[in-house]
């Protein structure tokens, strides 16, 4: 079966369409005939109606004539005038309606001559009556010529009517027969057409819908992502076969792409995806994707390396930061302690400053007393000077006496030396004398010993005298200096008195200053306490800083670990 799907569909629908066309044609034909029969019936009844109208008008004319004849009243002739044209008109109409029937035309011609004749008779009668010849007119009526004419007219009309009705009857029968035939034709034709349509639908369904259904199922599987599908064209060459082949190729291509994708997903980015064609959007996109993925992974590896080193540096920095923060905290703590000590010192200083202020007040009072004392001191100094002068005179005398003693000592010393030499000479003489001089030797020895003792004694005396002389000299000098010092002291006492006066003023100023200092110190204490409070706050902040730095450090360590993890993750990719 090498038909294409279109041909198959066309054939199926064409057969059904032909059947329907036949049924329709038959129906059209019979309907046309029915309409024609209906028209004919209307035509027939129209003809019959007009003939009856014509007959009634003719009777009106007759009645008008009779009335006039009897009465001679002109008013009876009114219908006559109006009925005459009507009779003509109806006759003309009937003639026009039956123009297709020569037989009826012939009869109508006869009828029209009869009617003319009858009308002429009537007109004659009326004219006679009008001219006053009622008897003549009555005669004419008595002949019965009018009545026979009227009968003939009626007969002619009946013939025409019967002919028309007969024709009508014939058409009506034919139309009825046609209708029955048509009814059967429609019924049978419809059934046949339905039957044909059912067969065609069955065939098309079996031939097209089933494979399409298989493809739809496969497409649904692909939609859900299942690419493990088997599609066979069963050797069909039509569109469905081509569609199945194309579907199989598409699935194959998708499987290839999916395999590449799974390899990429497994981290192997070295897969090269070759597009099936230049228009292969998925393949091109996939190739581009893997290309850009490679690039991105490369960038990512570089980024991970940079991140790792940066994280390490951050860890180092944060560690330093943490240690610095700890040091800062320690320093701040020490500073706080120091500030606390400073505060205590300030407190002490404040206390001291108050004491100083009190002392300064006392000093101011004391300095007032001091001024009076300096006056007494001046008088005392004057007495001391007089006594110093006396001492100086005594010292000079003493110095002169010691000088004299020195001279005496020199003499004694000289004597001792000479005695010594004498003793030595004696000893020499004794030695020369030998045995006889032994005793003299002892004497000489004793003399020498005495001389030595006296020399030593004089030496001691000289030493003492020297000391005395030095002491007296020093005393004289000291006395001199003492006198000068006393004079200077007197002068200084005068100066001191002036100074103490100044001092009194200064001390009172100092007392005021000390009071101000005490006030300032109080303010300073308050300030220092504020500083201590601030330092306490700083200490807490610094402790928090340390905690934050520790947290930061651990966070940085996490970042570092993250960087290492990213590095390991990235290292799994093969580019």
């Amino acid at each position: 079966m090498k038909w294409s799907v279109g041909t198959k569909l066309g054939t199926g629908f064409g057969v059904v369409l032909v059947v329907f066309l036949i049924v329709g044609a038959v129906s059209y034909y019979s309907t046309t005939q029915l309409i024609a029969a209906s028209d004919l019936r209307k035509h027939t009844y129209d003809v019959l109606a007009r003939l009856n109208e014509m007959l009634s008008s003719l009777q009106e004319v007759e009645m008008a004539r009779r009335g006039y004849l009897l009465t001679g009243d002109e008013s009876y002739l009114d219908p006559y005038g109006s009925a005459l044209p009507k009779i003509d008109k109806e006759l003309q109409e009937v003639k026009r309606l039956t123009a297709d029937n020569p037989r009826q035309q012939q009869r109508l011609d006869v009828l029209s001559s009869l009617v003319s004749e009858r009308v002429a008779l009537t007109k004659e009668t009326i004219e006679l009556r009008r001219s006053g010849n009622a008897e003549a007119a009555l005669q004419i009526v008595k002949t019965g010529k009018g009545k026979s004419l009227l009968d003939a007219i009626r007969k002619a009309v009946n013939d025409i009517e019967s002919d028309e009705l007969e024709t009508l009857q014939k058409w009506t029968n034919e139309a009825d027969n046609n209708g029955i035939r048509t009814k059967w034709t429609i019924a049978l034709g419809t059934v046949f057409a339905i039957f044909l349509a059912a067969i065609a639908a069955l065939l098309i369904t079996r031939n097209i819908a089933r494979p399409l259904q298989g493809l739809t199922t496969a497409a649904r599987q692909i939609t859900t992502g299942d690419l493990n599908i088997k599609i066979s064209s069963n050797g069909r060459g039509d569109e469905v076969g081509v569609l199945a082949n194309s579907f199989g190729q598409m699935a194959q291509s998708l499987r290839t792409v999916a395999n590449s994708a799974s390899q990429i997903a497994g981290g192997d980015l070295s897969v090269v995806v070759t597009p099936q064609s230049p228009d292969d959007a998925l393949g091109n996109a996939f190739a581009g994707m893997s290309q850009s993925l490679r690039q991105q992974i490369r960038d990512l590896i570089e980024g991970a390396n940079v991140l790792g080193s940066a994280a390490s540096e951050i860890v180092a920095s944060t560690t330093q930061l943490a240690s610095s923060a700890s040091e800062t905290a320690t320093a701040v703590s020490e500073t706080t302690t120091t500030v606390e000590e400073v505060r205590q010192t300030a407190e002490v200083a404040n206390q001291k400053a108050r004491n100083v202020a009190d002392s300064a007040q006392k000093a101011a009072q004391a300095s007032a007393g001091g001024r009076k004392s300096t006056e007494d001191l001046t008088a005392g100094m004057r007495r001391i000077r007089r006594q110093m002068e006396g001492i100086a005179e005594n010292m000079v005398a003493l110095s002169e006496r010691s000088q004299t003693i020195g001279e005496i000592i020199a003499t004694v010393e000289d004597l001792a030396a000479q005695s010594n030499l004498l003793a030595v000479n004696a000893a020499i003489e004794a030695a020369k004398a030998g045995e006889h001089g032994k005793g003299f030797t002892v004497v000489a020895q004793e003399v020498k010993s005495l001389a030595e003792q006296s020399r030593q004694a004089t030496n001691q005396v000289r030493t003492i005298l020297n000391d005395i002389q030095k002491a007296t000299t020093a005393a004289v000098m000291a006395t001199e200096q003492g006198s000068k010092a006393v004079e200077a002291g007197e002068q200084q006492v005068g100066n001191a008195a002036a100074t103490i006066q100044l001092l009194t003023g200064n001390v009172s100023e100092a007392a005021q200053a000390a009071t101000q200092i005490a006030t300032s110190s109080q303010q300073q204490l308050v300030g220092t306490e504020q500083v201590a409070g601030a330092m306490e706050s700083i200490k807490q902040a610094s402790v928090q800083n340390v905690a934050s730095a520790k947290q930061l450090e651990s966070a940085a360590r996490n970042v570092d670990q993250l960087g290492q993890s990213i590095k390991q993750m990235v290292a799994r990719y093969r580019i």
Binding site: A417, N420, V424, N425, A427, I428, E429, A431, K432, A444
Partner: protein
């Protein structure tokens, strides 16, 4: 042993030493004096007397060791300074210096001494002969050195030293 015994023994020992010193043979009597803080001695047999140094008259055109001449009881004597002779430092002459008058045959001179210590007796056996370290004039003029390092001068040699003869002529 009680204290008395000890004292007795000690006294006995002292007595023995005394006896042994007396027993010792030849002793010489010397006059000890000082020259520039060193102790020297001269045998008494040469010495006439000691005298304090007064009125030294310097003599021109004489060697440095000749201090000058003095008048002692009418005798005019030359005064030698052994310090110059023995190459010892001499800080100068003061009134405190003494002269030792010595006589050899007819020659009588005065020897300048810084300080006269006194007469004492020295055992000849104690004298050690000239020390090997001494050289030149010092070794020639010394008779011996005692244990207390007193140098005993040999005046005989000093007088026989040719340098001591003063014979200088100065052209007018």
């Amino acid at each position: 042993m009680n204290a008395k015994q000890i004292l007795r023994e000690r006294a006995r020992a002292l007595a023995r030493r005394e006896k042994s010193a007396a027993i010792q043979g030849a002793t010489i009597e010397v006059l000890e004096f000082r020259l520039a803080q060193e102790r020297y001695a001269i045998e008494c047999r040469w010495i006439q007397e000691v005298h304090s140094l007064k009125d030294v008259t310097a003599v021109p055109c004489t060697p440095p060791f000749l201090v000058g001449i003095v008048n002692v009881r009418g005798r005019i004597l030359a005064v030698l300074d052994l310090k110059k002779f023995l190459d010892l430092p001499s800080p100068g002459i003061t009134d405190l210096h003494c002269i030792i008058l010595v006589r050899r045959n007819d020659c009588e001179v005065g020897i300048l001494a810084d300080v006269i210590v006194g007469v004492r007796s020295i055992s000849v056996d104690d004298l050690q002969l000239s020390l090997p370290t001494l050289t030149g004039v010092r070794s020639e003029c010394i008779r011996g050195v005692t244990a207390e390092s007193v140098v005993v001068l040999d005046l005989e040699r000093i007088f026989s030293d040719p340098r001591i003869i003063v014979h200088e002529e100065v052209e007018a």
